[in-house]
């Protein structure tokens, strides 16, 4: 198995990489990481640099073809799963970590103990609306904590504002959107808002100045917590 971290995790959020590695090791899953892992092409694709995206994708496809790939970031997942097929005609064998985690729990390979915390789940657009994956992360959360849902979830989940290059070009817009999503979470009893996209995580955390001190975590982090002795 090949663990594709994605740029944000690799360079900005090593804590997600650490958590994911720990979980894979606890489940006795053999995996490797590319020494020369590069961008999946998502950013280029979404911001109009299509020719550059094709080059980057073609080069990544060479490294990923024939491998069973797991991905931490919802944006990378959508790109590797859907855009490589649509744009390059390359079908990669790729799953998101939430799907793998759900499977590992179901198979008994890992046995999380239920944490006494209320968590809410933010569906990343790339994993939810664009890839139709709503259930796996929720199954993982049900096994690790007490899931309390926000009003707008699954296909109606309000976008956190980070995607489509908006965070880099219009950070104030991205931040306003994230604040609205945090407000959605504050309307629940949740102490932690969990997501499964590194890009959502960065953006939501940045908007997380709130009196109740709600925290934002990646799915891998809360799962690792529930696996700790």
């Amino acid at each position: 198995m090949l663990y594709f971290r994605g740029c944000t995790v690799r360079e900005k959020l090593p804590r997600i990489e650490m958590a994911t590695k720990w979980i894979l090791e606890k489940a006795h899953i053999e995996y490797r990481i590319l020494d020369d892992e590069e961008c999946c092409g998502s950013f280029l694709l979404r911001t109009g640099f299509t020719d550059d995206a094709r080059d980057v994708m073609a080069s990544a496809a060479e490294k990923l073809k024939g491998e069973k790939v797991i991905v931490s970031c919802a944006g990378c997942y959508n790109t590797l799963k859907n855009d490589y097929k649509d744009l390059l005609g390359v079908e990669l064998d790729v799953i998101h970590t939430s799907t793998l985690f759900e499977q590992l729990i179901k198979d008994g390979a890992i046995k999380p103990k239920k944490l006494p915390v209320n968590v809410s789940y933010h569906d990343p657009c790339h994993l939810g609306r664009h890839s139709g994956e709503y259930d796996s992360p929720r199954e993982v959360l049900k096994a690790t904590a007490n899931l309390v849902e926000m009003e707008n979830i699954k296909e109606n989940a309000r976008c956190c504002g980070a995607g489509g290059g908006v965070k880099s070009a219009y950070p104030e817009v991205a931040s306003k959107l994230a604040q609205r999503r945090i407000t959605d979470a504050l309307e629940t009893e949740a102490e932690i808002l969990v997501t499964s996209c590194s890009f959502c995580l960065v953006n939501l955390e940045g908007a997380c100045q709130n009196p109740r001190g709600i925290r934002v975590m990646d799915l891998s982090e809360i799962l690792l917590w529930a696996l700790s002795d």
Binding site: C39, F43, R129
Partner: protein, 406 residues
């Protein structure tokens, strides 16, 4: 980007949207709406795939019904044609029309010293404000709260007005009725145009279109994207539009105009202009729509309900700043590329969309706006119209395979 909205306007708009969204929720989930949606989707798909034939058929049928037709390639041609019809008028009455706004009709006429009386209450209020911008295609004043509206009315009429919706309505109605009494020409849009019958369907709740369309000359500005085959199809389209726009299954009024007002009650001699307009002129507008059909086909499926902006996360924080004129939200951004050009499209928010896909889910025609925007971004970048930050990041990725390098 366009002029920003104030925080209070954003707040008022989101409150309006929340009420609207709650009201229509049940209706959108029911099977009958689902079936109507499927039927209308088929009607719109067929219509845009047979647009050329429908255009020819509509012009022939309208003319044989006694309606004059001007085919306008762009807004300039449309304005020239309208000016020729109204140049001797001091004022004209007008109903709400996104297409009239698109060609800049009100500003154009006022520059020529022809007063424009907006008859829709929301439009009239917006017309009195400084920014003159509307925040929803059906509810143009959705971003103004009662107190703000009362203030606008006080300033306009220069007298004390209570912050009471009924009192505001009474004042505006009185004023509009007095103004209309001096008008000979009424200008409206149309929600749908049935080619086979040469019939124009107009939807309204206030009754204003009935008044405006009964003036001596009735000018109808309609985009070629409003064409469908039959009158029954047109009714289906506007019914669905009403459901998605207002949460009601039918509007208060649907006017169908298929000819000037006429009678043959005296020895079968045909006379025009009994109670309604003796002259009806249709301005059939392309203004980039044919190009949009080739390049971003699905954008022409739009039935104008405004559902896409109600839940758009970007629209919820930016309001009409995200979109072009009355073509609001992401779909409006796409449309601006064809109605105007690449620069205007960029300014309207080509790179402000997060591509989240919520609008497609809430659109009765399921217009894949995020995909259309991605495609337009690609074209825009190729022609050098792009965001500096994106270019810097793209350079890093090209060089080092990561957006965070160097």
């Amino acid at each position: 980007m366009n002029t920003p909205m104030d925080e209070s306007e954003i707040q008022a708009m989101n409150n309006s949207f929340k009420i609207l969204h709650e009201r229509r929720r049940k209706l959108l989930d029911n099977d009958k709406t689902g079936k109507l949606k499927e039927r209308v989707r088929g009607i719109r798909e067929y219509s845009i795939d047979h647009l050329e034939e429908l255009k020819v058929e509509a012009v022939e049928k309208l003319q044989s019904n006694g309606i004059e037709v001007v085919y306008a390639e762009d807004s300039k041609e449309a304005l020239t044609a309208i000016y020729a019809l109204v140049k001797d008028e001091k004022c004209i009455a007008k109903s709400k029309s996104n297409t009239a706004s698109e060609i800049g009709l009100t500003d154009f006429l006022q520059d020529k010293d022809i007063d424009v009386v907006e008859t829709d209450l929301g439009d009239r209020i917006v017309q009195f404000t400084e920014k003159k911008r509307s925040s929803h295609p059906i509810g143009p004043a959705a971003h103004l709260n009662l107190e703000e509206i009362a203030q606008v009315i006080r300033e306009k009429f220069n007298r004390e007005v209570k912050s009471d919706p009924q009192e505001i309505l009474d004042m505006v109605r009185q004023d509009v009725l007095e103004e209309i009494a001096h008008c000979n020409v009424g200008i409206t849009g149309a929600n749908s145009l049935a080619a086979e019958d040469g019939s124009l369907v107009m939807v309204h709740n206030e009754g204003n279109i009935s008044l405006v369309s009964l003036l001596d000359t009735h000018i109808v500005i309609v985009g070629i994207d409003k064409l469908v085959g039959t009158l029954e199809e047109a009714i289906s389209v506007v019914k669905l539009e009403t459901i998605y726009a207002t949460g009601k299954t039918a509007p208060a009024y649907m006017n169908v105009v298929s000819s000037p007002s006429k009678t043959a009650d005296i020895e079968q001699i045909l006379l025009n202009g009994m109670y309604g307009a003796s002259r009806v002129v249709v301005i059939l507008l392309d203004n980039g729509r044919s190009e949009a059909l080739k390049d971003s086909r699905e954008t022409l499926l739009c039935i104008g309900c405004g559902s896409c902006i109600v839940t758009c996360p970007v629209y919820n924080v930016l309001g009409y700043q995200f979109g072009y004129d009355r073509h609001l939200g992401g779909r409006g951004v796409v449309f601006s590329r064809y109605v105007r050009d690449k620069e205007v499209c960029f300014e309207s928010g080509l790179f402000t969309c997060t591509l989240c896909g919520q609008c497609t889910l809430d659109c009765p025609m399921e217009i894949p706006t995020n995909q259309l925007i991605e495609k337009l971004r690609s074209q825009s970048v190729k022609s050098g119209i792009l965001h500096q930050k994106h270019e810097e990041t793209a350079r890093k990725i090209r060089k080092d395979g990561s957006p965070f390098s160097g």
